[in-house]
């Protein structure tokens, strides 16, 4: 019996103007097609959790995004975290009603930290994932600044101090990305992951920059993260999450033994596919 839970492999989907996209340094690069197909792959194979983030510049596509979340939740039998455009508890309610198990908060929390507490009090601390987009800034005590507005707006907050404050305010997990590493295939910013992971007692999810399976192992071994997330690398590659999981297991990382068959749905889902 293992003393700690397995390390999680998380697949992330970024939705920009209604389309699932790949990104590089937080800018969409190309469309990768249907979110449903992607989630079917993830589910059937080895992924432990799915994070979906709405990254459009405005709120015009929110209704469509909610419908997408609803569709995803019908075929997603692993935890589903949903983020993007959360400014108040009502948006959280809308996402959880659509089938989200957890929500990811970012810009609005930087502007209004009490929002973290407000949501944690109402939905439980385990429902709140604080998403931090960090960028190197030598003027900050930790060497990193937390950025808002999809990585474009400096918040003036030190990333490490913000992670600590966020957890104290009620965040149950930290999702951590570094802007220059996003889509760069160099692996995670391990200094950042380690800095934040050592600073908080909540679980940390490393995200951004995976270009090879060993980067996932590095995130856990060297970054001391509890979970590792990737987006771009899982698209296009057949059986990608299964291969990633097998690589992690062979490297000696305790992971959930995956079962590679699909759960049959009892009826056709009602959503309109994209």
């Amino acid at each position: 019996m293992s003393a700690l839970p397995k390390h999680r492999l998380i697949a992330s989907l970024l939705v920009h103007n209604g389309h699932v996209v790949q990104t590089r340094r937080f800018r969409p690069t190309n469309d990768v097609g249907s979110a449903f197909t992607a989630v079917d792959f993830f589910n059937a194979w080895a992924v432990d959790e799915i994070i979906v983030l709405e990254i459009s510049p405005d709120e015009r596509h929110l209704e469509r995004f909610e419908a997408l979340v609803e569709g995803l939740s019908r075929r997603c039998f692993v935890p589903l975290t949903v983020g993007g455009k959360i400014r108040d508890p009502d948006r959280v309610r809308a996402y959880t009603r659509a089938g989200a198990d957890k929500i990811a908060l970012n810009t609005a929390a930087l502007e209004q930290p009490r929002l973290i507490t407000e949501i944690a009090d109402r939905f439980g601390r385990q429902c709140v994932v604080l998403s931090i987009d960090a960028r190197r800034n030598p003027d900050m005590p930790s060497g990193y600044e937390a950025m808002g507005g999809r990585g474009r707006l400096p918040s003036g907050r030190d990333a490490r101090a913000w992670a600590r404050e966020g957890v104290a305010l009620g965040a149950g997990e930290i999702l951590l990305n570094e802007i220059e590493h996003d889509g760069d295939k160099r692996g995670y910013d391990l200094d950042l992951v380690r800095t934040i992971s050592d600073a908080v007692d909540a679980p940390v999810i490393a995200f951004g920059g995976v270009g090879a399976w060993e980067h996932l192992v590095d995130g856990i071994r060297l970054g001391r993260a509890q979970a590792v997330a990737a987006g771009n690398i899982f698209h296009y590659t057949e059986h990608s999450t299964k291969k990633a999981k097998e690589f992690m297991a062979r490297a000696g990382v305790p992971v959930r033994d995956s079962t590679f068959y699909k759960i049959a749905m009892p009826r056709r889902p009602r959503y309109a596919p994209f």
């Binding site: 019996m1 293992s2 003393a3 700690l4 839970p5 397995k6 390390h7 999680r8 589910n43 432990d48 609803e70 939740s73 019908r74 039998f77 692993v78 935890p79 589903l80 959880t96 009603r97 659509a98 089938g99 989200a100 198990d101 957890k102 944690a120 009090d121 109402r122 939905f123 439980g124 601390r125 385990q126 429902c127 149950g172 997990e173 007692d201 909540a202 679980p203 509890q226 979970a227 959930r256 033994d257 079962t259 068959y261 759960i263 049959a264 749905m265 009892p266 009826r267």
Partner: protein, 208 residues
Amino acid sequence: MKVAIIDYGAGNIESVRNALLAAGARATVARDPEAVLAADRLVLPGVGAAGPAAERLERSGLSEAMVDAVRRKGRPMLGICLGMELLAEQLLEFGRTPGLGWLAGEVVHLRDAGVRRARVPHVGWNTAEPIGEVRRFFEAPERMRTFYFCHSYTLVLRDEGAVAARTEYETPLVAAVLDGTVFATQFHPEKSQINGQRLLRAFLTWAP
């Protein structure tokens, strides 16, 4: 067979419903006592904060209907996460919240239950080790007993006889309880992929 998911305003009702549908159940959402009493089987889900949840269960008459359906009429019920914790006598979350009192014990923060170094909340896939004759719910081998946990509080029972499974998170924690026609889990079967589906099917065919 009609399965009713009790909706008291907390959490991921849709996820639970989707998982039950996939497991082959006719699952509906019950928001009033009549709907609870009309069901053959009940599911008390739970993601959320204890205080508002307990209050709403009480005020809406749902808890009374649950007592009638489960304790008097003996209909099977599955509690999930907060839905298990609410069965205790009291929950020590932001002060004291009275629970349903079906289980002799209380719900305490993980830090007060021996989890000192490990991170809180306990989030991730962990193994449930069955205790006693609960094969129906926890088939061997181990890889079929990993489930998704996500909680900051844990159930501490005075009488350990109701414990159906434990998990290890620095210290042993209650992963599931079995008491009469009630089966409840700290983890989320609705989010535990095929292992969760297997457990939901075991509940749906359970005749206690």
